[in-house]
Symmetry: C2
Subunit: 138 residues, 2 copies
């Protein structure tokens, strides 16, 4: 990671420990929507003494600063997305892989709804089967 980037995070009030650096490097450009466990498994290789608390702690700190999104997409498990640009997802109902969709859908809610609800953002989720799983189905 570049010094500029480290400095950027520091200015956001994040103390840049080696563990955090490893987590940030893992997340950078990562489109796999990793769970806390995925992140832990990866960073653990570099820091065998890592604890889950540190992973959650860091993810919380990043979330608070708007640097990552927490996705509630898989039941019973949080997933994290370092891409905070508005985008959508396709989810395979069989293998639970998540794919990004970068399209602007302009979904407009009728006034009937917006009257009593102030929309901040909207996300479209497509459920279906990914290529691999289509082939596995009979």
């Amino acid at each position: 990671m570049t010094k500029e980037k480290i400095e950027y995070y520091r200015k956001l009030g994040l103390k840049m420990t080696p563990q955090r650096l490893a987590i940030l490097e893992y997340l950078e450009g990562n489109t796999s929507h990793p769970s806390a466990e995925d992140i832990f498994r990866h960073v653990e290789e570099k820091f065998p003494s890592m604890s889950f608390a540190t992973v959650y702690n860091t993810l919380e700190a990043l979330k608070e600063r708007g640097l990552i999104l927490e996705l509630s997409i898989e039941p019973g498990k949080k997933r994290f997305d370092p891409n905070t640009e508005p985008h959508h997802h396709m989810i395979c109902e069989r293998c639970h892989k998540i794919f990004d969709v970068f399209e602007d859908f302009a979904v407009n809610l009728p006034e009937k709804y917006t009257k009593d609800f102030k929309v901040k953002r909207c996300e479209v989720v497509f459920y279906g089967l990914c290529k691999e799983c289509q082939e596995k189905e009979v």
Copy 2:
């Protein structure tokens, strides 16, 4: 619940125990998107010996038969929706209440995506603030 409805569930292979009846009656027309705990708390009043296992067991049986939907909308918790018609949701980011949206948005995914992914359904989620919470915010 009408005898016809009970017969209908029976024909789907569901043994209609009193506990299941109570769960089904609670879910019927329910738009609050209850969690397993919500359902348990309610049915417990009628059947104090109820166990969570029965709630989850019944919900799983209903889900398998396409009678309810499992929503992954709140982190770390499943919610259930007895309305299986395609519809969308608005979620208050403050109080986590979920509201139904019955509109047909016709969100079309470009071929670039559908080439490798067979879409079965799509759900739009609007995040924002409900009326009540707007008033509470300063």
